[in-house]
C-alpha cells in the first residue's frame, strides 16, 4: 500500500496503490492525512476520536472518492486527522467503516475537496489496485 504525489498546476495529484481494493482505500486515507498534516499518521499511538461512515456508490471509483470526501468532512468537523480505518463491510459499491483520528491544532494544508477528475480505480496486470486522485487545494 502506498501513496505518491505528482505535480498539478494548481492542486495536488496523488497516486495511490494497494494489493486489494481495501488497501487502496486505506492508502487514500493515509495519503490525504499526510497532506493535511505531514507525517501525522507515521506514529502508532492512541486515537482521540472514532467516527462511522456508511456509503453506497455506483462503482469502486465513486466509492473511493465519496469515502475520502466523508473522511475529509469529519476531519474538519472534528478538527481531527484520521489515520486508521476498520472496515465493517466493503464491496465494490458499498462501505461501512469506523475511522479513528487524532485531534490536532491546525492543519498544514487545507483541502477544499477530493475530486473525481482523473480518478479511475483499476486492477493492474500485476494484481494491484491503483488510481490517481486530484485534491482541490
Amino acid at each position: 500500500m502506498k501513496f505518491q504525489y505528482f505535480a498539478h498546476t494548481a492542486d495536488i495529484r496523488m497516486k495511490v496503490e494497494g494489493n486489494s481494493f481495501k488497501e487502496l482505500m486505506v492508502a487514500g486515507v493515509l495519503g490525504m492525512a499526510n497532506i493535511l498534516k505531514e507525517d501525522i499518521c507515521d506514529t502508532e499511538d492512541s486515537f482521540d476520536i472514532k467516527s462511522n461512515i456508511a456509503l453506497k456508490a455506483t462503482d469502486p471509483t465513486c466509492l473511493l472518492i465519496d469515502f475520502l470526501s466523508e473522511v475529509l468532512s469529519h476531519s474538519y468537523l472534528e478538527k481531527s486527522i484520521y489515520c486508521k480505518v476498520i472496515f465493517i463491510k466493503l464491496t465494490a459499491t458499498d462501505v461501512i467503516a469506523d475511522i479513528y483520528g487524532k485531534k490536532t491544532i491546525g492543519f498544514d494544508e487545507e483541502i477544499k475537496a477530493v475530486t473525481y477528475h482523473e480518478a479511475e480505480v483499476v486492477k493492474t496486470r500485476g494484481n494491484t489496485w491503483e488510481t490517481f486522485i486530484i485534491f482541490d487545494i
Binding site: A10, D11, S73, I134
Partner: protein
C-alpha cells in the same frame, strides 16, 4: 485528445477559436481571450482540452470561453466562462467550483504609503493576529443554527444587522452581497456545521489579505469615481465560502452525478456533472449555491471588520475608516440577460475563476460607478502588481460580461516548492518593503511570484481585447496568508 496550434483559428487580435467541428460532441465553439504569447503558454497544460469538454455541455450557447489567466483545473478549466440557456440548459456545480463565491474586495484608506511605511511590520503582525486562517482552528464567531440560516439567507446584510459593518458597504458589493434565491434548507447539516466557526477566516492556498498602495493611475476619471488616488493605501481581501461552500459543492456534485442518467446526460469528465437547471436537482443546487455565496459575502464582510479593527489598533481610534470600494465574486453562476447572435436571451452564466465585468450603464452598480462601469479587481501574486479595471461594454459582446480573475498559475505547487527558498524570499520581499506574515514557509513557496503568469501581460491582454480597461495599478506592502 490533443489540441495543436493549427486547430486554433485567430478570430481577432486577442481572440482565438477552436471551431465546433473540432470534435463531434461540441455544441458551440471554444474561444480563448489571449495574446499569442499567452496562448502558447496556455497550450502547455490541459486547459484547452478541458475547455473543449465544456463546449459539449447540454444547453451551452455562444461559446465556451477562457480568459488569459486560465490554467488547468479538474473538469472545468480555471479562468472559464460557460453560459447555458435558461431555464432548461445545464447547471454544473463544477462550473462554479468547490469554493463557491470565492472573490475579492478592495478597501480604501485615507492614508498614503509614506505615512504608514514605518508601521508596516506592526500592521502586518496585527492583521495576522486579528484574522484567523481557520485551518482546523476556527474563527472568532460561532454561529448557532438559527444564526447560520440567517447568514445563508441575508449574506453580508447579516454582518450589518449584527454590528460588524456599516450599511453603506452593501451598495458596493456585486448583488449587494445577497442572492435572493438562497434557501438554507437546501444546505446540508454537515455543510452548516463545517461553516459554523468559519466566518471571518481566510483559509489557505492562494487566499490572502494584502495591504497595497496605488502605484499608477491610468484613467483619472474612473479612478476618481472609484475613490482611488496615487500613493493611497488600500487593502485587498481574497477568500470565499470556506468549508461550508466546499461541502455544498461536494454534496451536490455527488447528487447530480447520480441524477444525470435520468436526463440522458453523459459528460466526458465526472467533474462536469450537470442536470437541467429547471430539474429538481438543478433548482436545489442553485438555491444551495446562492446560500453558500451569501456565506462568502458575509465572510469577506467579517474579515473587513477584523482588518478595520487591526487598522484602529495600529493607527489609533481616530483614523479615517476604511471604505469598501467594491466586492466581486469569481466562482459563481448567475441568471443574466445577454445578447447571443443578435438575440436577447436569459442565460445562466457559470464563472469559474472569472469576474463579472459589466460596462457603463449597468443597473446593479453604485450610482457613482454607473457611468464608468463595474470595478474589476485583479490580484497579482505576492510581490507583484495587482490591478483595478473597469468593465467595458465589449465584454457583453465577446465574453458574457466577464473578465479574468488574477494572474493565473503557471507552476505546480511541487515545482514552486522545489524552486523557491521561502525564508530567503520572505527576506528579499522585506528588503523591497513587502512584509509577509504566513502560517508556513511552504505556503510562501507555493504562492511565490514565480508560480504565476506575468500579471502585467494578462491585464494588458484584457485591455487590448476591450473587455475591461485599466484604471489603476497597485503594489503590495504587507501580505497576510493562512
Amino acid at each position: 485528445m490533443k489540441i495543436n496550434k493549427q486547430d486554433i483559428i485567430k478570430k481577432e487580435d486577442f481572440l482565438w477559436e477552436i471551431p465546433q467541428t473540432f470534435r463531434p460532441q461540441m455544441l458551440v465553439p471554444a474561444r480563448v481571450i489571449a495574446s499569442e504569447t499567452l496562448l502558447d503558454a496556455i497550450m502547455e497544460d490541459r486547459s484547452l482540452v478541458q475547455l473543449v469538454n465544456v463546449a459539449s455541455l447540454p444547453g451551452l450557447i455562444g461559446a465556451s470561453l477562457v480568459m488569459p489567466d486560465v490554467h488547468e483545473g479538474y473538469g472545468f478549466p480555471i479562468g472559464g466562462v460557460a453560459a447555458t440557456l435558461y431555464p432548461n440548459g445545464a447547471i454544473s456545480p463544477g462550473g462554479i467550483g468547490y469554493d463557491i463565491n470565492c472573490g475579492v474586495r478592495l478597501l480604501t484608506s485615507q492614508q498614503n504609503a509614506e505615512e504608514i511605511k514605518f508601521k508596516l511590520e506592526e500592521l502586518s503582525k496585527e492583521m495576522y493576529a486579528q484574522i484567523p486562517s481557520g485551518m482546523g482552528k476556527g474563527g472568532q464567531i460561532n454561529l448557532n443554527p438559527k444564526e447560520m440560516d440567517e447568514v445563508l439567507t441575508k449574506g453580508a446584510e447579516w454582518a450589518v444587522d449584527n454590528g460588524y459593518a456599516d450599511k453603506e458597504d452593501l451598495a458596493y458589493m456585486e448583488s449587494n452581497g445577497r442572492l435572493d434565491n438562497a434557501d438554507p434548507a437546501m444546505v446540508s447539516e454537515m455543510a452548516k456545521k463545517r461553516g459554523s466557526d468559519q466566518l471571518g477566516t481566510i483559509g489557505s492556498g492562494n487566499h490572502f489579505v494584502e495591504v497595497d498602495y496605488v502605484d499608477e493611475i491610468y484613467d483619472p476619471i474612473a479612478a476618481e469615481a472609484y475613490g482611488l488616488s496615487k500613493g493611497q493605501v488600500v487593502v485587498l481581501i481574497h477568500t470565499g465560502s470556506r468549508g461550508l461552500g466546499h461541502q455544498v459543492a461536494t454534496d451536490y456534485i455527488r447528487e447530480i452525478m447520480a441524477a444525470m442518467p435520468n436526463y440522458g446526460i453523459k459528460v466526458p469528465d465526472r467533474e462536469l456533472a450537470c442536470v437541467p437547471f429547471n430539474s429538481q436537482e438543478g433548482e436545489n443546487y442553485f438555491k444551495a449555491m446562492c446560500a453558500a455565496a451569501n456565506f462568502a459575502w458575509c465572510n469577506r464582510e467579517i474579515i473587513s471588520w477584523e482588518v478595520r479593527k487591526a487598522w484602529k489598533n495600529v493607527f489609533g481610534a481616530d483614523v479615517d475608516p476604511l471604505k469598501l470600494m467594491y466586492d466581486v465574486a469569481h466562482n459563481i453562476a448567475k441568471i443574466e440577460t445577454h445578447q447571443v447572435d443578435g438575440e436577447k436571451l436569459k442565460v445562466l452564466v457559470h464563472r469559474k475563476g472569472a469576474t463579472r465585468a459589466f460596462g457603463p450603464g449597468f443597473e446593479d452598480l453604485p450610482k457613482e460607478y454607473k457611468h464608468i462601469g463595474q470595478p474589476v479587481i485583479i490580484p497579482g501574486s505576492m510581490g507583484t502588481s495587482s490591478y483595478i479595471l473597469a468593465g467595458a461594454n465589449r465584454s457583453e459582446k465577446i465574453s458574457f460580461g466577464s473578465c479574468c480573475h488574477g494572474a493565473g498559475r503557471k507552476l505546480s505547487r511541487t515545482a514552486a516548492k522545489k524552486q523557491v527558498n521561502a525564508p530567503v524570499l520572505k527576506e528579499k520581499l522585506k528588503e523591497i518593503g513587502i512584509y509577509v506574515q504566513a502560517g508556513s514557509f511552504k505556503g510562501i513557496a507555493e504562492e511565490a511570484p514565480i508560480a504565476y503568469k506575468d500579471v502585467d501581460e494578462v491585464v494588458e491582454t484584457i485591455q487590448n481585447s476591450g473587455i475591461a480597461k485599466k484604471v489603476a495599478k497597485l503594489r503590495p506592502m504587507a501580505v497576510v496568508k493562512g
